[in-house]
Protein backbone atom coordinates (compact mmCIF):
# COMPACT_ATOMS: atom_id res chain seq x y z
CA UNK A 1 0.00 0.00 0.00
CA UNK A 2 2.72 2.37 1.06
CA UNK A 3 4.71 1.46 -2.00
CA UNK A 4 1.86 1.94 -4.44
CA UNK A 5 1.16 5.36 -2.90
CA UNK A 6 4.81 6.24 -3.47
CA UNK A 7 4.51 5.17 -7.09
CA UNK A 8 1.34 7.25 -7.38
CA UNK A 9 3.18 10.34 -6.13
CA UNK A 10 6.09 9.58 -8.42
CA UNK A 11 3.80 9.41 -11.43
CA UNK A 12 2.27 12.76 -10.46
CA UNK A 13 5.68 14.37 -10.23
CA UNK A 14 6.69 12.72 -13.52
CA UNK A 15 3.61 14.14 -15.22
CA UNK A 16 4.12 17.58 -13.65
CA UNK A 17 7.72 17.83 -14.81
CA UNK A 18 6.72 16.36 -18.18
CA UNK A 19 4.11 19.11 -18.48
CA UNK A 20 6.67 21.81 -17.77
CA UNK A 21 8.97 20.34 -20.39
CA UNK A 22 6.01 20.25 -22.77
CA UNK A 23 5.75 24.05 -22.35
CA UNK A 24 9.42 24.32 -23.28
CA UNK A 25 9.08 22.07 -26.33
CA UNK A 26 5.97 23.96 -27.48
CA UNK A 27 7.89 27.23 -27.15
CA UNK A 28 10.84 25.79 -29.05
CA UNK A 29 8.50 24.36 -31.67
CA UNK A 30 7.25 27.84 -32.54
CA UNK A 31 10.85 28.91 -33.02
CA UNK A 32 12.45 25.89 -34.67
CA UNK A 33 9.55 23.82 -35.97
CA UNK A 34 7.51 26.58 -37.55
CA UNK A 35 10.08 29.30 -38.16
CA UNK A 36 13.47 27.58 -38.37
CA UNK A 37 15.11 29.62 -35.59
CA UNK A 38 17.92 27.76 -33.84
CA UNK A 39 17.67 28.77 -30.19
CA UNK A 40 20.17 27.09 -27.86
CA UNK A 41 19.58 29.57 -25.07
CA UNK A 42 16.49 27.78 -23.77
CA UNK A 43 18.11 27.41 -20.36
CA UNK A 44 18.76 31.16 -20.22
CA UNK A 45 15.18 32.19 -20.95
CA UNK A 46 13.92 29.47 -18.65
CA UNK A 47 16.12 30.76 -15.83
CA UNK A 48 15.07 34.37 -16.39
CA UNK A 49 11.44 33.39 -16.02
CA UNK A 50 12.19 31.25 -12.99
CA UNK A 51 14.09 33.96 -11.11
CA UNK A 52 11.65 36.75 -11.91
CA UNK A 53 8.72 34.74 -10.64
CA UNK A 54 10.62 33.40 -7.62
CA UNK A 55 11.79 36.83 -6.48
CA UNK A 56 8.41 38.49 -6.96
CA UNK A 57 6.42 35.90 -5.05
CA UNK A 58 8.74 34.84 -2.23
CA UNK A 59 8.64 36.22 1.33
CA UNK A 60 11.05 38.79 2.72
CA UNK A 61 14.62 37.67 3.34
CA UNK A 62 17.96 39.34 3.90
CA UNK A 63 19.71 37.04 1.50
CA UNK A 64 18.35 38.39 -1.76
CA UNK A 65 16.03 40.89 -3.35
CA UNK A 66 12.49 40.04 -2.43
CA UNK A 67 9.70 40.38 0.05
CA UNK A 68 7.18 41.44 -2.55
CA UNK A 69 4.98 38.40 -1.88
CA UNK A 70 2.96 39.15 -4.98
CA UNK A 71 0.28 36.74 -6.24
CA UNK A 72 1.35 33.91 -8.54
CA UNK A 73 -0.46 35.40 -11.47
CA UNK A 74 1.74 38.50 -11.20
CA UNK A 75 4.87 36.34 -10.97
CA UNK A 76 3.89 34.35 -14.04
CA UNK A 77 2.94 37.43 -16.05
CA UNK A 78 6.08 39.31 -15.07
CA UNK A 79 8.29 36.37 -15.99
CA UNK A 80 6.74 36.30 -19.44
CA UNK A 81 7.08 40.05 -19.91
CA UNK A 82 10.74 40.13 -18.84
CA UNK A 83 11.72 37.16 -21.03
CA UNK A 84 9.86 38.76 -23.94
CA UNK A 85 11.82 42.00 -23.54
CA UNK A 86 15.17 40.20 -23.40
CA UNK A 87 14.22 37.99 -26.34
CA UNK A 88 13.29 41.09 -28.30
CA UNK A 89 16.76 42.54 -27.69
CA UNK A 90 18.48 39.31 -28.77
CA UNK A 91 16.24 39.11 -31.81
CA UNK A 92 17.05 42.67 -32.81
CA UNK A 93 20.73 41.79 -33.06
CA UNK A 94 20.58 38.30 -34.54
CA UNK A 95 17.44 37.58 -36.48
CA UNK A 96 18.62 39.32 -39.63
CA UNK A 97 21.60 36.94 -39.78
CA UNK A 98 21.68 33.22 -40.44
CA UNK A 99 20.60 30.76 -37.78
CA UNK A 100 24.16 29.95 -36.65
CA UNK A 101 24.57 33.47 -35.29
CA UNK A 102 21.35 33.19 -33.34
CA UNK A 103 22.65 29.94 -31.90
CA UNK A 104 25.91 31.56 -30.81
CA UNK A 105 24.15 34.60 -29.38
CA UNK A 106 21.55 32.59 -27.49
CA UNK A 107 24.18 30.34 -25.94
CA UNK A 108 25.90 33.61 -24.93
CA UNK A 109 22.72 34.91 -23.30
CA UNK A 110 22.59 31.78 -21.18
CA UNK A 111 26.20 32.32 -20.11
CA UNK A 112 25.72 36.02 -19.35
CA UNK A 113 22.68 35.27 -17.29
CA UNK A 114 24.62 32.65 -15.35
CA UNK A 115 27.29 35.30 -14.60
CA UNK A 116 24.66 37.75 -13.41
CA UNK A 117 23.05 35.14 -11.16
CA UNK A 118 26.40 34.29 -9.62
CA UNK A 119 27.69 37.85 -9.22
CA UNK A 120 24.65 39.93 -8.28
CA UNK A 121 24.31 38.29 -4.89
CA UNK A 122 22.19 41.14 -3.49
CA UNK A 123 19.42 40.19 -5.92
CA UNK A 124 19.86 36.48 -6.45
CA UNK A 125 21.74 35.16 -3.43
CA UNK A 126 24.51 34.06 -5.82
CA UNK A 127 25.26 30.37 -6.21
CA UNK A 128 23.09 29.46 -3.21
CA UNK A 129 19.98 30.46 -5.11
CA UNK A 130 16.50 31.58 -4.12
CA UNK A 131 14.64 29.29 -1.75
CA UNK A 132 11.34 29.41 0.15
CA UNK A 133 9.50 30.10 -3.08
CA UNK A 134 5.79 29.60 -2.40
CA UNK A 135 4.02 26.87 -4.29
CA UNK A 136 0.42 27.09 -5.46
CA UNK A 137 -1.99 24.85 -3.52
CA UNK A 138 0.67 23.95 -0.94
CA UNK A 139 -1.80 24.54 1.89
CA UNK A 140 -3.88 21.59 0.67
CA UNK A 141 -3.27 18.13 2.04
CA UNK A 142 -1.16 15.63 0.16
CA UNK A 143 -1.81 14.31 -2.49
CA UNK A 144 -4.41 16.98 -3.37
CA UNK A 145 -1.81 19.78 -3.45
CA UNK A 146 0.26 17.76 -5.94
CA UNK A 147 -2.78 16.86 -8.01
CA UNK A 148 -4.00 20.46 -8.16
CA UNK A 149 -0.58 21.68 -9.24
CA UNK A 150 -0.45 18.97 -11.90
CA UNK A 151 -3.91 20.05 -13.08
CA UNK A 152 -2.72 23.66 -13.29
CA UNK A 153 0.29 22.62 -15.37
CA UNK A 154 -1.74 20.42 -17.69
CA UNK A 155 -4.39 23.09 -18.20
CA UNK A 156 -1.64 25.60 -19.03
CA UNK A 157 -0.09 23.19 -21.53
CA UNK A 158 -3.50 22.61 -23.09
CA UNK A 159 -4.18 26.34 -23.36
CA UNK A 160 -0.76 26.96 -24.95
CA UNK A 161 -1.34 24.05 -27.33
CA UNK A 162 -4.75 25.33 -28.41
CA UNK A 163 -3.48 28.88 -28.86
CA UNK A 164 -0.53 27.73 -31.01
CA UNK A 165 -2.75 25.43 -33.08
CA UNK A 166 -5.16 28.31 -33.68
CA UNK A 167 -2.28 30.63 -34.57
CA UNK A 168 -0.87 28.08 -37.03
CA UNK A 169 -4.16 27.81 -38.84
CA UNK A 170 -4.61 31.57 -38.95
CA UNK A 171 -3.25 33.77 -41.75
CA UNK A 172 -0.31 34.49 -39.42
CA UNK A 173 0.59 30.79 -39.33
CA UNK A 174 0.31 30.47 -43.09
CA UNK A 175 2.70 33.35 -43.62
CA UNK A 176 5.05 31.68 -41.15
CA UNK A 177 5.04 28.45 -43.17
CA UNK A 178 5.48 30.41 -46.38
CA UNK A 179 8.56 32.15 -44.97
CA UNK A 180 10.13 28.91 -43.87
CA UNK A 181 9.39 27.15 -47.15
CA UNK A 182 10.43 29.92 -49.49
CA UNK A 183 11.72 33.08 -47.96
CA UNK A 184 12.42 35.01 -51.19
CA UNK A 185 8.87 34.36 -52.40
CA UNK A 186 7.42 35.52 -49.09
CA UNK A 187 9.53 38.68 -49.28
CA UNK A 188 8.46 39.24 -52.85
CA UNK A 189 4.85 38.99 -51.69
CA UNK A 190 5.58 41.95 -49.42
CA UNK A 191 5.74 40.08 -46.12
CA UNK A 192 7.94 41.60 -43.46
CA UNK A 193 9.99 38.49 -42.78
CA UNK A 194 11.96 40.02 -39.89
CA UNK A 195 8.81 41.00 -38.04
CA UNK A 196 7.32 37.52 -38.30
CA UNK A 197 10.57 35.94 -37.15
CA UNK A 198 10.75 38.33 -34.23
CA UNK A 199 7.19 37.51 -33.22
CA UNK A 200 7.85 33.79 -33.30
CA UNK A 201 11.09 34.19 -31.35
CA UNK A 202 9.58 36.41 -28.67
CA UNK A 203 6.45 34.29 -28.22
CA UNK A 204 8.55 31.11 -27.99
CA UNK A 205 10.80 32.69 -25.35
CA UNK A 206 7.81 33.94 -23.35
CA UNK A 207 6.53 30.38 -23.10
CA UNK A 208 9.98 29.23 -22.00
CA UNK A 209 9.98 31.96 -19.33
CA UNK A 210 6.59 30.78 -18.14
CA UNK A 211 7.89 27.21 -17.91
CA UNK A 212 10.74 28.55 -15.79
CA UNK A 213 8.30 30.32 -13.49
CA UNK A 214 6.28 27.13 -13.07
CA UNK A 215 9.41 25.13 -12.29
CA UNK A 216 10.59 27.62 -9.65
CA UNK A 217 7.20 27.51 -7.90
CA UNK A 218 7.01 23.73 -8.18
CA UNK A 219 10.48 23.02 -6.80
CA UNK A 220 10.15 25.97 -4.35
CA UNK A 221 13.77 26.71 -5.16
CA UNK A 222 15.92 27.96 -8.01
CA UNK A 223 19.68 28.32 -8.35
CA UNK A 224 22.14 29.09 -11.17
CA UNK A 225 22.22 25.40 -12.11
CA UNK A 226 18.96 26.14 -13.91
CA UNK A 227 21.10 27.65 -16.67
CA UNK A 228 22.86 24.29 -17.10
CA UNK A 229 22.83 23.33 -20.78
CA UNK A 230 22.42 19.60 -20.46
CA UNK A 231 19.24 19.17 -18.52
CA UNK A 232 17.36 22.09 -19.93
CA UNK A 233 18.45 23.18 -23.39
CA UNK A 234 19.73 19.90 -24.68
CA UNK A 235 16.99 17.73 -23.28
CA UNK A 236 14.34 20.04 -24.74
CA UNK A 237 15.94 19.84 -28.15
CA UNK A 238 16.06 16.06 -28.01
CA UNK A 239 12.41 16.00 -26.91
CA UNK A 240 11.29 18.13 -29.83
CA UNK A 241 13.33 16.28 -32.45
CA UNK A 242 12.26 12.87 -31.18
CA UNK A 243 8.60 13.86 -30.85
CA UNK A 244 8.50 15.52 -34.25
CA UNK A 245 9.30 19.15 -34.88
CA UNK A 246 6.66 21.35 -36.50
CA UNK A 247 4.02 19.13 -34.95
CA UNK A 248 2.60 20.39 -31.64
CA UNK A 249 1.29 16.99 -30.60
CA UNK A 250 4.74 15.59 -31.38
CA UNK A 251 6.34 18.27 -29.20
CA UNK A 252 4.13 17.34 -26.24
CA UNK A 253 4.58 13.61 -26.80
CA UNK A 254 8.36 14.02 -27.03
CA UNK A 255 8.43 15.96 -23.75
CA UNK A 256 6.51 13.36 -21.73
CA UNK A 257 8.23 10.42 -23.38
CA UNK A 258 11.81 11.66 -23.06
CA UNK A 259 11.25 12.98 -19.54
CA UNK A 260 10.02 9.52 -18.54
CA UNK A 261 13.09 7.90 -20.11
CA UNK A 262 15.41 10.46 -18.51
CA UNK A 263 13.83 10.23 -15.09
CA UNK A 264 13.46 6.42 -15.09
CA UNK A 265 17.08 5.97 -16.13
CA UNK A 266 18.05 8.18 -13.18
CA UNK A 267 16.21 5.87 -10.80
CA UNK A 268 17.96 2.87 -12.29
CA UNK A 269 21.42 4.38 -12.04
CA UNK A 270 20.85 5.79 -8.54
CA UNK A 271 20.68 2.21 -7.27
CA UNK A 272 24.29 1.71 -8.22
CA UNK A 273 27.09 2.38 -5.71
CA UNK A 274 27.83 6.10 -5.29
CA UNK A 275 30.95 6.29 -7.40
CA UNK A 276 29.34 4.32 -10.19
CA UNK A 277 26.14 6.34 -9.95
CA UNK A 278 27.97 9.62 -10.57
CA UNK A 279 29.76 8.19 -13.55
CA UNK A 280 26.72 6.56 -15.08
CA UNK A 281 25.03 9.97 -15.06
CA UNK A 282 27.50 10.86 -17.82
CA UNK A 283 26.64 7.69 -19.68
CA UNK A 284 23.00 8.82 -19.66
CA UNK A 285 23.93 12.14 -21.26
CA UNK A 286 26.04 10.33 -23.81
CA UNK A 287 23.22 7.96 -24.70
CA UNK A 288 20.71 10.80 -25.00
CA UNK A 289 23.17 12.58 -27.30
CA UNK A 290 23.60 9.44 -29.35
CA UNK A 291 19.82 9.07 -29.57
CA UNK A 292 19.63 12.61 -30.93
CA UNK A 293 22.25 11.83 -33.59
CA UNK A 294 20.47 8.67 -34.67
CA UNK A 295 17.09 10.40 -34.85
CA UNK A 296 18.63 13.33 -36.79
CA UNK A 297 20.21 11.01 -39.32
CA UNK A 298 17.65 8.23 -39.64
CA UNK A 299 14.29 9.65 -38.60
CA UNK A 300 14.61 13.42 -39.03
CA UNK A 301 10.87 13.95 -38.89
CA UNK A 302 10.43 12.31 -35.48
CA UNK A 303 7.62 10.10 -34.13
CA UNK A 304 4.80 12.39 -35.23
CA UNK A 305 5.96 14.01 -38.46
CA UNK A 306 4.79 17.41 -39.57
CA UNK A 307 1.44 17.47 -41.33
CA UNK A 308 1.90 19.36 -44.53
CA UNK A 309 -0.69 20.63 -46.96
CA UNK A 310 1.47 19.64 -49.93
CA UNK A 311 4.07 16.88 -50.01
CA UNK A 312 6.84 18.80 -51.80
CA UNK A 313 9.55 20.20 -49.59
CA UNK A 314 13.26 20.70 -49.68
CA UNK A 315 13.51 21.90 -46.11
CA UNK A 316 13.99 18.57 -44.37
Amino acid sequence: MEQSYGIFLYIISLATMGGMYAMLTLGLNIQWGFTGLFNVGIAGFFAIGAYVSAILTSPETTRHLGGFELPYIVGFSASMIVTALIAWGVGKVCLRLRSDYLAIATIGIGEIFRLILKNETWATNGPRGVSMVPKPFESLAEPYNQLMFLALVLVTVAVIYLLIEAACKSPWGRVMTAIRENEPAARAAGKNVERFRMEAFVIGCMIMGLAGAFTAQYLKFIDPNATELTTTTFLVWVMLIVGGSANNKGAILGAFLMWTVWSASEILTSRLPDDMAIRTAYVRIFLIGLALQIVLQKFPSGILPEKRPKPSGSHE
Binding site: A105, T230, L296
Partner: protein, 299 residues
Amino acid sequence: MIALMEFINFYLIPGIVLGSIYALGAVGITLTFGILRFANFAHGETMTLGVYFTWTLMQITPFHPLVILPASMLLTVLVVLGIDRLFYKPFRASPTIMVVMASFGIMLMVRSVIQFVWGVQLKGLVPGIQRPMVLFDTLRISPKHMVIIASAVVLVLLIHLLLSRTKIGKAMRAMSDSPELARLTGIGTEKIVMTTWVVGASLACAAGVFLAYDTHVETMMGFKLLLPMFAAAILGGVGKPYGAIAGGLIIGLVEELSSYPWIGTEPLLNPGYKAGVAFAIMVLMLLWRPSGLFRGRVF
Protein backbone atom coordinates in the same frame (compact mmCIF):
# COMPACT_ATOMS: atom_id res chain seq x y z
CA MET B 1 56.77 53.71 -13.49
CA ILE B 2 55.70 51.16 -10.91
CA ALA B 3 52.11 51.56 -12.06
CA LEU B 4 53.22 50.96 -15.65
CA MET B 5 55.17 47.82 -14.73
CA GLU B 6 52.23 46.57 -12.74
CA PHE B 7 50.02 47.16 -15.75
CA ILE B 8 52.39 45.20 -17.98
CA ASN B 9 53.02 42.38 -15.54
CA PHE B 10 49.52 41.76 -14.29
CA TYR B 11 47.28 42.86 -17.14
CA LEU B 12 49.11 43.16 -20.45
CA ILE B 13 51.09 39.90 -20.39
CA PRO B 14 48.21 37.77 -19.11
CA GLY B 15 46.08 39.43 -21.78
CA ILE B 16 48.51 38.41 -24.50
CA VAL B 17 48.68 34.87 -23.11
CA LEU B 18 44.92 34.54 -23.04
CA GLY B 19 44.66 36.22 -26.43
CA SER B 20 47.10 33.73 -27.99
CA ILE B 21 45.04 30.84 -26.63
CA TYR B 22 41.81 32.33 -28.04
CA ALA B 23 43.55 33.06 -31.33
CA LEU B 24 44.67 29.45 -31.83
CA GLY B 25 41.22 28.13 -30.96
CA ALA B 26 39.41 30.67 -33.11
CA VAL B 27 41.34 29.68 -36.25
CA GLY B 28 39.65 26.27 -36.12
CA ILE B 29 36.23 27.83 -35.52
CA THR B 30 36.58 30.26 -38.40
CA LEU B 31 37.90 27.65 -40.85
CA THR B 32 35.05 25.25 -40.01
CA PHE B 33 32.59 28.12 -40.35
CA GLY B 34 34.08 29.17 -43.68
CA ILE B 35 34.74 25.79 -45.29
CA LEU B 36 32.19 23.42 -43.77
CA ARG B 37 29.86 26.39 -43.27
CA PHE B 38 28.66 25.72 -39.77
CA ALA B 39 29.25 26.97 -36.25
CA ASN B 40 30.98 24.07 -34.54
CA PHE B 41 29.76 23.92 -30.96
CA ALA B 42 31.97 20.94 -30.19
CA HIS B 43 35.21 22.89 -30.76
CA GLY B 44 35.62 23.66 -27.07
CA GLU B 45 35.29 19.97 -26.24
CA THR B 46 37.95 19.19 -28.86
CA MET B 47 40.26 21.35 -26.76
CA THR B 48 39.31 19.65 -23.54
CA LEU B 49 39.88 16.25 -25.12
CA GLY B 50 43.34 17.31 -26.29
CA VAL B 51 44.16 18.43 -22.75
CA TYR B 52 43.10 15.11 -21.23
CA PHE B 53 45.10 13.17 -23.81
CA THR B 54 48.12 15.26 -22.86
CA TRP B 55 47.49 14.76 -19.14
CA THR B 56 47.22 11.00 -19.61
CA LEU B 57 50.39 10.80 -21.70
CA MET B 58 52.19 12.79 -19.01
CA GLN B 59 51.19 10.19 -16.42
CA ILE B 60 52.90 7.44 -18.39
CA THR B 61 55.91 9.32 -19.77
CA PRO B 62 58.38 11.69 -18.12
CA PHE B 63 58.17 14.39 -20.80
CA HIS B 64 57.29 18.07 -20.77
CA PRO B 65 53.79 18.89 -22.13
CA LEU B 66 55.31 20.59 -25.17
CA VAL B 67 57.12 17.38 -26.09
CA ILE B 68 53.94 15.40 -25.71
CA LEU B 69 51.84 17.95 -27.61
CA PRO B 70 52.40 16.49 -31.11
CA ALA B 71 51.26 13.07 -29.93
CA SER B 72 48.13 14.40 -28.26
CA MET B 73 47.43 16.57 -31.31
CA LEU B 74 47.52 13.43 -33.41
CA LEU B 75 45.11 11.61 -31.07
CA THR B 76 42.74 14.58 -31.06
CA VAL B 77 42.82 14.80 -34.85
CA LEU B 78 41.98 11.10 -35.16
CA VAL B 79 38.99 11.43 -32.84
CA VAL B 80 37.74 14.53 -34.67
CA LEU B 81 38.08 12.85 -38.06
CA GLY B 82 36.10 9.90 -36.71
CA ILE B 83 33.38 12.25 -35.43
CA ASP B 84 33.25 13.96 -38.82
CA ARG B 85 32.85 10.65 -40.63
CA LEU B 86 30.12 9.36 -38.31
CA PHE B 87 28.15 12.45 -37.38
CA TYR B 88 28.81 15.36 -39.74
CA LYS B 89 29.46 13.78 -43.13
CA PRO B 90 25.91 12.42 -43.53
CA PHE B 91 24.71 16.05 -43.48
CA ARG B 92 27.03 17.50 -46.16
CA ALA B 93 24.13 18.07 -48.53
CA SER B 94 21.57 19.00 -45.84
CA PRO B 95 20.70 22.46 -44.55
CA THR B 96 23.71 23.47 -42.42
CA ILE B 97 21.60 23.86 -39.33
CA MET B 98 21.40 20.06 -39.12
CA VAL B 99 25.18 19.90 -38.66
CA VAL B 100 25.07 22.70 -36.10
CA MET B 101 22.60 20.64 -34.14
CA ALA B 102 24.71 17.51 -34.56
CA SER B 103 27.75 19.43 -33.28
CA PHE B 104 25.72 20.63 -30.31
CA GLY B 105 25.01 16.99 -29.52
CA ILE B 106 28.66 16.06 -30.03
CA MET B 107 29.67 18.78 -27.58
CA LEU B 108 27.71 17.10 -24.81
CA MET B 109 28.64 13.58 -25.88
CA VAL B 110 32.38 14.27 -25.90
CA ARG B 111 32.13 16.09 -22.59
CA SER B 112 30.24 13.23 -20.98
CA VAL B 113 32.85 10.76 -22.22
CA ILE B 114 35.60 12.92 -20.71
CA GLN B 115 33.73 13.19 -17.43
CA PHE B 116 33.10 9.45 -17.42
CA VAL B 117 36.68 8.44 -18.19
CA TRP B 118 38.65 11.03 -16.25
CA GLY B 119 36.19 12.28 -13.61
CA VAL B 120 35.36 15.91 -12.87
CA GLN B 121 37.95 16.76 -10.21
CA LEU B 122 40.56 19.41 -10.99
CA LYS B 123 43.94 18.19 -12.14
CA GLY B 124 47.24 19.97 -12.70
CA LEU B 125 49.30 19.57 -15.82
CA VAL B 126 52.52 20.68 -14.18
CA PRO B 127 52.95 20.49 -10.42
CA GLY B 128 53.90 23.38 -8.19
CA ILE B 129 54.18 27.11 -8.68
CA GLN B 130 56.90 28.55 -10.83
CA ARG B 131 58.84 31.60 -9.77
CA PRO B 132 58.51 34.40 -12.32
CA MET B 133 61.65 35.54 -14.09
CA VAL B 134 62.56 39.13 -13.41
CA LEU B 135 63.95 41.05 -16.36
CA PHE B 136 65.35 44.57 -16.13
CA ASP B 137 64.59 44.56 -12.39
CA THR B 138 60.87 45.13 -12.82
CA LEU B 139 59.51 43.14 -15.76
CA ARG B 140 58.22 39.94 -14.26
CA ILE B 141 57.23 37.22 -16.64
CA SER B 142 56.68 33.65 -15.67
CA PRO B 143 58.51 31.03 -17.72
CA LYS B 144 55.13 29.43 -18.40
CA HIS B 145 53.89 32.57 -20.06
CA MET B 146 57.04 32.86 -22.13
CA VAL B 147 56.66 29.28 -23.30
CA ILE B 148 53.01 29.82 -24.20
CA ILE B 149 53.60 33.05 -26.10
CA ALA B 150 56.62 31.66 -27.94
CA SER B 151 54.81 28.43 -28.89
CA ALA B 152 51.78 30.38 -30.04
CA VAL B 153 53.98 32.56 -32.24
CA VAL B 154 55.56 29.47 -33.78
CA LEU B 155 52.15 27.91 -34.43
CA VAL B 156 50.79 31.11 -35.98
CA LEU B 157 53.82 31.22 -38.27
CA LEU B 158 53.20 27.61 -39.24
CA ILE B 159 49.55 28.39 -40.02
CA HIS B 160 50.67 31.36 -42.06
CA LEU B 161 53.10 29.25 -44.05
CA LEU B 162 50.47 26.59 -44.61
CA LEU B 163 47.86 29.07 -45.80
CA SER B 164 50.08 31.25 -47.96
CA ARG B 165 52.74 28.88 -49.28
CA THR B 166 51.17 25.48 -49.81
CA LYS B 167 48.72 24.42 -52.46
CA ILE B 168 46.36 22.83 -49.95
CA GLY B 169 46.46 25.92 -47.74
CA LYS B 170 45.59 28.21 -50.62
CA ALA B 171 42.82 25.83 -51.62
CA MET B 172 41.47 26.05 -48.06
CA ARG B 173 41.32 29.83 -48.30
CA ALA B 174 39.74 29.52 -51.74
CA MET B 175 37.06 27.19 -50.45
CA SER B 176 36.44 29.46 -47.51
CA ASP B 177 35.97 32.34 -49.98
CA SER B 178 33.54 30.46 -52.19
CA PRO B 179 32.79 26.73 -51.86
CA GLU B 180 30.80 26.68 -55.13
CA LEU B 181 33.60 28.18 -57.20
CA ALA B 182 36.13 25.89 -55.51
CA ARG B 183 34.09 22.93 -56.68
CA LEU B 184 33.84 24.32 -60.23
CA THR B 185 37.61 24.75 -60.18
CA GLY B 186 38.08 21.05 -59.46
CA ILE B 187 39.15 21.44 -55.83
CA GLY B 188 38.01 18.23 -54.14
CA THR B 189 35.78 19.08 -51.18
CA GLU B 190 36.54 16.08 -49.00
CA LYS B 191 40.29 16.55 -49.02
CA ILE B 192 39.93 20.18 -47.97
CA VAL B 193 37.40 19.26 -45.31
CA MET B 194 39.80 16.67 -43.88
CA THR B 195 42.64 19.19 -43.82
CA THR B 196 40.38 21.69 -42.09
CA TRP B 197 39.66 19.21 -39.32
CA VAL B 198 43.33 18.33 -39.03
CA VAL B 199 44.35 21.98 -38.68
CA GLY B 200 41.42 22.95 -36.45
CA ALA B 201 41.78 20.01 -34.09
CA SER B 202 45.57 20.34 -33.80
CA LEU B 203 45.35 24.02 -32.94
CA ALA B 204 42.47 23.41 -30.54
CA CYS B 205 44.53 20.78 -28.77
CA ALA B 206 47.50 23.15 -28.54
CA ALA B 207 45.37 26.02 -27.26
CA GLY B 208 43.79 23.78 -24.65
CA VAL B 209 47.15 22.47 -23.49
CA PHE B 210 48.52 26.02 -23.20
CA LEU B 211 45.55 27.00 -21.07
CA ALA B 212 45.92 23.91 -18.89
CA TYR B 213 49.65 24.60 -18.59
CA ASP B 214 48.85 28.12 -17.40
CA THR B 215 45.96 27.14 -15.11
CA HIS B 216 44.67 23.62 -14.55
CA VAL B 217 42.88 20.69 -16.18
CA GLU B 218 39.11 20.69 -15.91
CA THR B 219 36.24 19.16 -17.88
CA MET B 220 34.46 22.46 -18.60
CA MET B 221 37.59 24.35 -19.70
CA GLY B 222 36.89 24.03 -23.41
CA PHE B 223 33.27 25.04 -23.15
CA LYS B 224 34.26 28.18 -21.26
CA LEU B 225 36.43 29.14 -24.22
CA LEU B 226 33.72 28.54 -26.79
CA LEU B 227 32.07 31.93 -26.55
CA PRO B 228 35.30 33.98 -26.69
CA MET B 229 36.41 31.88 -29.67
CA PHE B 230 33.15 32.47 -31.52
CA ALA B 231 33.45 36.14 -30.67
CA ALA B 232 37.02 36.19 -32.02
CA ALA B 233 35.96 34.50 -35.25
CA ILE B 234 33.09 36.95 -35.77
CA LEU B 235 35.25 39.92 -34.79
CA GLY B 236 37.89 38.93 -37.33
CA GLY B 237 35.42 38.04 -40.05
CA VAL B 238 33.99 34.57 -40.54
CA GLY B 239 36.18 32.40 -42.76
CA LYS B 240 39.26 34.61 -42.27
CA PRO B 241 42.02 32.80 -40.35
CA TYR B 242 44.14 35.95 -40.00
CA GLY B 243 41.07 37.75 -38.75
CA ALA B 244 40.50 35.06 -36.15
CA ILE B 245 44.08 35.45 -34.87
CA ALA B 246 43.66 39.21 -34.56
CA GLY B 247 40.20 38.78 -33.06
CA GLY B 248 41.48 36.30 -30.48
CA LEU B 249 44.29 38.61 -29.37
CA ILE B 250 41.95 41.58 -29.13
CA ILE B 251 39.38 39.68 -27.07
CA GLY B 252 41.99 38.22 -24.73
CA LEU B 253 43.51 41.65 -24.16
CA VAL B 254 40.19 43.41 -23.67
CA GLU B 255 39.07 40.73 -21.21
CA GLU B 256 42.16 41.17 -19.05
CA LEU B 257 42.35 44.94 -19.40
CA SER B 258 38.66 45.34 -18.54
CA SER B 259 39.44 44.73 -14.89
CA TYR B 260 42.30 47.25 -14.76
CA PRO B 261 41.49 50.26 -12.58
CA TRP B 262 41.39 52.71 -15.50
CA ILE B 263 39.29 55.19 -13.53
CA GLY B 264 40.01 55.55 -9.82
CA THR B 265 41.24 52.54 -7.89
CA GLU B 266 38.42 50.06 -8.49
CA PRO B 267 38.55 47.60 -11.40
CA LEU B 268 36.70 49.11 -14.34
CA LEU B 269 34.62 45.96 -14.61
CA ASN B 270 33.90 43.46 -11.86
CA PRO B 271 36.28 40.57 -12.71
CA GLY B 272 33.32 38.22 -12.26
CA TYR B 273 32.01 39.56 -15.56
CA LYS B 274 35.24 39.06 -17.50
CA ALA B 275 33.66 36.21 -19.41
CA GLY B 276 30.90 38.56 -20.56
CA VAL B 277 33.34 40.89 -22.33
CA ALA B 278 33.70 38.61 -25.33
CA PHE B 279 29.96 38.41 -25.66
CA ALA B 280 29.58 42.18 -25.51
CA ILE B 281 32.23 42.64 -28.20
CA MET B 282 30.51 40.05 -30.36
CA VAL B 283 27.10 41.70 -30.04
CA LEU B 284 28.54 45.13 -30.85
CA MET B 285 30.30 43.67 -33.87
CA LEU B 286 27.16 41.96 -35.13
CA LEU B 287 25.33 45.28 -34.82
CA TRP B 288 28.02 47.45 -36.30
CA ARG B 289 29.68 45.28 -38.92
CA PRO B 290 28.67 41.62 -39.13
CA SER B 291 31.32 40.93 -41.78
CA GLY B 292 34.03 41.54 -39.16
CA LEU B 293 37.26 43.49 -39.26
CA PHE B 294 38.65 41.41 -42.13
CA ARG B 295 35.46 41.47 -44.20
CA GLY B 296 34.50 37.84 -43.87
CA ARG B 297 31.31 36.28 -45.08
CA VAL B 298 27.95 37.06 -43.61
CA PHE B 299 25.42 34.30 -43.76
